[in-house]
């Protein structure tokens, strides 16, 4: 069993990592623990480095609309603090009550607001990293616009704890919206909803979020979110309803913008994965999901953001059936230039299916980056793409 350490300062993180590297221990950084099972199981885990005590909002420069926060702070706590001055981090990751800033960054978990405000890579403007050898390095800064030096905040985002421990991040913020509105549509078949989603993206509607929901045993749905002034929302609603003449408008489901979380609920065996596709290929991928899950015991559900990033769940059946379906889906995704990654799945599935897929010709470069920053393979060894 790995032992858990809870450093209370950046210096303590540095000391712990330096000692662990020296002793050849494998260290797994951990935030809220909500996504710790994503990716491949690390080859070794001697020490779990928890950021639970690094949980302060260090600065909210509301006049400048930036905030500096420690990695262990939960998303909800940060949002609560920012709301005091009418601001927010304009992103809506999974499980904000438990997910930490360090965790959402490392796993690059972006919600539907990404359609308007960009992904975490676009919101983070500075970062403090502790490397395996104990080096404490800052990159970026506290201003929104800054091109001095390499953009290491982006390197850290989505690195799944394999390059460095993120101890602090600086974000650009946005104002809380004046007013919000969500319109939901349904149709007996998915196709008209996918068409509508594309039409909306080509229209001049200024939606902030857009998602398609689909599944074997559920009515498909399309949710479109807006923010703005009352007058602006009214006129956008009119325009959207004109575009949506062929589908039925219904009330949005409860917690509509958190429906992605439901993909993690259900019974095992199951896998939860994510895929990327060109926006025009979303519909084809959903069709593929349906066709790959014809076995009677195999259920599927998906929530797809307009930009072409989606999450799906396959549930029931045996590991064999799941792996076969995954293989088919990956092939379909890759044929159209997209990707497919398995986040959660049983040990058995993960042993038989390469959860990350091929990173292409960049793998040797990824390996050299890892080699430079973590030459001893101390941090989450084996968790990421290509065994990194």
């Amino acid at each position: 069993m790995a032992s858990v350490v809870e450093p209370g300062s950046v210096d303590e993180v540095a000391t712990l990592l330096r000692d662990a590297s020296r002793d050849g221990l494998a260290v797994i950084p951990r935030g809220g623990g909500t996504k710790l099972d994503w990716g491949r199981p690390p080859r070794r885990a001697d020490l779990v480095l928890s950021t639970v005590r690094l949980d302060r909002v260090l600065e909210h420069a509301w006049g400048d609309m930036t905030a500096t926060v420690e990695a262990g702070c939960t998303v909800a706590r940060l949002q609560h603090a920012l709301a005091e001055h009418g601001q927010r981090l304009a992103c809506d990751p999974l499980w904000p009550e438990r997910a930490t800033i360090g965790g959402i960054l490392a796993a690059n978990d972006n919600g539907p607001l990404r359609a308007r405000f960009g992904a975490l890579r676009d919101l983070i403007i500075g970062v403090t990293l502790v490397l395996a050898d104990g080096t404490v390095a800052k990159s970026g800064g506290k201003v929104v616009k800054n091109v001095a030096g390499y953009d290491l905040p982006k390197l850290a985002t989505g690195s799944f704890g394999t390059l460095a421990v993120i101890t602090q991040a600086v974000f650009r913020l946005h104002p809380l919206p004046h007013e919000t509105r969500t319109l939901t549509f349904t149709a007996p078949r998915l196709e008209p909803l996918c068409e509508l989603a594309l039409a909306i993206q080509h229209s001049q509607l200024a939606f902030v979020s857009l998602q398609v929901r689909a599944g074997r045993s559920a009515e498909p749905g399309l949710d479109v979110g807006f923010e703005g002034t009352r007058a602006g929302l009214d006129s956008q609603q009119d325009e959207l309803l004109r575009l949506a003449a062929d589908v039925a408008r219904v009330d949005p489901p409860a917690a509509v913008w958190r429906t992605r979380e439901e993909l993690w609920q259900g019974t095992d065996p199951a896998v939860v994965g994510t895929f990327s596709a060109l926006p025009t290929d979303v519909r084809a991928f959903c069709t593929e999901l349906r066709d790959a899950c014809t076995a009677p015991s195999l259920d599927w559900r998906a929530v797809v953001q307009g930009l072409g990033v989606g999450h799906f769940r396959l549930e029931g059946a045996t590991s064999d059936t799941l792996v076969t379906a995954l293989q088919r889906l990956r092939a379909a995704a890759e044929r159209r230039g997209g990707t497919l990654v398995v986040l959660r799945g049983s040990e058995d599935v993960k042993a038989r299916f390469d959860v990350w897929g091929s990173p292409g010709d960049a793998l040797p470069l990824f390996q050299r980056v890892k080699q430079q920053l973590d030459p001893g393979g101390t941090l989450s060894p084996g968790r990421f793409v290509g065994g990194l």
């Binding site: 001095a148 001049q204 602006g232």
Partner: protein, 481 residues
């Protein structure tokens, strides 16, 4: 340069793709920052990725440093040649390879000009990052500098709009970073490459995201007595939760220069604001009422609203020509680029005024005010003994001021040659060393624009490990700064 090497280059790019005559090379001796000049040994002009790879392989084998060059409009000496090195000019790789409107994506070669991308997707879409040099600068240069522009406040910088890259690494191998779809598994090296100023390799293909044009665009011009008043209006607008497409500010000297150069018919005032709102018509109309009210309450004594395409173009003309306009009021000038937290504007402005008085030199100010990006223009006369030196020192002390205020030494022009000595003002040694470790992963032999960005190169063969002083430093021979 060894003629056998030149022969090899010629065999790759053909006779008309290789320049070696001093008068030809002269064109490439500097970029937009003309006070640094170095004559390269040769310039090669490849027309394909394969040619770039082949040229880079020769460089790699013979250990010849190379500098990629787009249009040469950079303002920090990024494309400044390296002595005994070559320049690889990408201007002949200027094809738009693919326009996929239904997915809002465009694939281009690096030599394509910024404005050409917008032209390719007009009238329904546009390419959002719009440096003032957009008619002449290249996408490759934009990628390398992570260029900004007036509309980045709302739409983000170049990096937000680059989805994927094909890159020739400094050993000649080819990699694909990012790609046509989002969130591809692996490290975000596309994000690292953007803004790396030519030090990590050469981009030979770029997948760009283009943006739907909004239903309505309106530009408000407001005249204030001072930049402080105008600055207060900027803070007021942002605090009210309005995110304009652009907020630009000019001070009186900049206004007068623009007036002399392109006659935009700006009011003669102490501080001028341009506020552009875009989006659905009803939304823009509602927010414009707020913006007007905020400007008035902060002391605006004249407000004009440009609504048609022509009126807007006229309003922007003066701002976009602001740098070049300095030539009308001063024989020489330095364009500086620094960033401050927006709230520090009043203090920083009065400090700039003090420094300018102390140096006996005029400073005109043009800002991307919404994101605190200052472009102080230090005016001087090179014919007057000592003025140039004083101007340089003044420009640098303004940068120090920016860092002290919690900002950055560059918001969009890059570090390049000009500001590398300033990196330690902003970053500690372990910070820079960590960046250089990333550089070592891409370019262990230090061939790709090797002398730029960092004040001191890291020897990649050095054992990676916590920062240790360079042997020369410990011997007291070299000082970091």
């Amino acid at each position: 340069m060894d003629t056998r090497i030149l022969d090899r280059f010629r065999a790759i790019v053909g006779g008309d793709g290789l320049l070696t005559e001093p008068e030809q090379l002269r064109t490439y001796e500097c970029d937009g920052l003309t006070n640094f000049r170095v004559l390269p040994s040769a310039v090669v002009l490849p027309t394909s990725t394969e040619q770039v790879q082949a040229v880079v392989r020769v460089c790699h084998e013979a250990r010849i440093p190379f500098v990629a060059r787009g249009s040469g409009t950079g303002l920090s000496g990024g494309a400044l040649p390296i002595e005994h090195g070559i320049v690889i000019s990408l201007t002949r790789m200027n094809r738009i390879l693919e326009v996929d409107i239904s997915n809002a994506r465009v694939v281009v070669e690096p030599g394509v000009l910024n404005l050409s991308v917008t032209q390719a997707v007009w009238p329904h879409y546009f390419y959002a990052p719009d440096p003032s040099s957009q008619q002449v600068c290249s996408i490759g240069g934009n990628v390398a500098e992570n260029s900004g522009g007036a509309h980045c406040l709302k739409y983000g910088f170049t990096t937000t709009h680059v989805l994927g890259l094909e890159v020739v690494l400094p050993d000649g191998s080819l990699v694909h970073l990012g790609g046509p779809t989002l969130d591809r598994p692996g490290y975000d090296l596309c994000g690292v490459f953007v803004g790396s100023e030519g030090t990590l390799g050469i981009a030979t293909k770029v997948i760009l995201r283009v943006v739907r044009r909004p239903a309505l665009i309106q530009t408000l011009l407001a005249a204030f007595h001072s930049t402080n008043e105008a600055g207060a209006a900027v803070s007021g607008i942002i605090a009210a939760g309005v995110l304009p497409a652009a907020i630009e500010m000019m001070d009186n000297l900049a206004i007068r220069a623009a007036e002399a150069a392109v006659h935009p018919n700006y009011p003669d005032c102490g501080g001028l604001l341009l506020v552009e709102l875009d989006g659905p018509a009803a939304e823009v109309a509602a927010l414009m009422v707020q913006v007007r009210a905020i400007c008035t309450s902060c002391g605006a004594w004249e407000i004009r609203l440009a609504q048609s395409e022509e009126e807007r173009a006229a309003v922007w003309k003066g701002r976009k020509a602001a740098f070049a306009a300095m030539g009308r009021i001063s024989p020489n000038y330095i364009v500086q680029d620094g960033v401050i937290p927006r709230t520090a504007l009043p203090e920083v402005m009065s400090e700039i005024e003090r420094l300018s008085g102390q140096a006996g030199l005029r400073v005109a100010n043009v800002f991307h005010a919404g994101d605190g990006n200052l472009h102080p223009l230090v005016l001087y006369d090179a014919r007057i003994e000592g003025q140039e030196g004083r101007a340089e020192r003044l420009a640098f002390s303004i940068l120090e001021l920016c860092v002290k205020a919690g900002g950055s030494i560059t918001g969009e022009h890059g570090v390049g040659e000009e500001k590398k000595a300033f990196m330690p003002v902003m970053f500690a040694e372990p910070d820079l060393d960590t960046m250089q470790r990333v550089r070592c992963a891409f370019d262990p032999e230090r061939l790709s624009n090797p002398t730029k960005v960092f004040p001191r190169p890291r020897l990649c063969a050095e054992k990676t490990g916590p920062y240790q002083p360079h042997p020369l430093e410990t011997a007291g021979i070299a000082q970091l700064f």
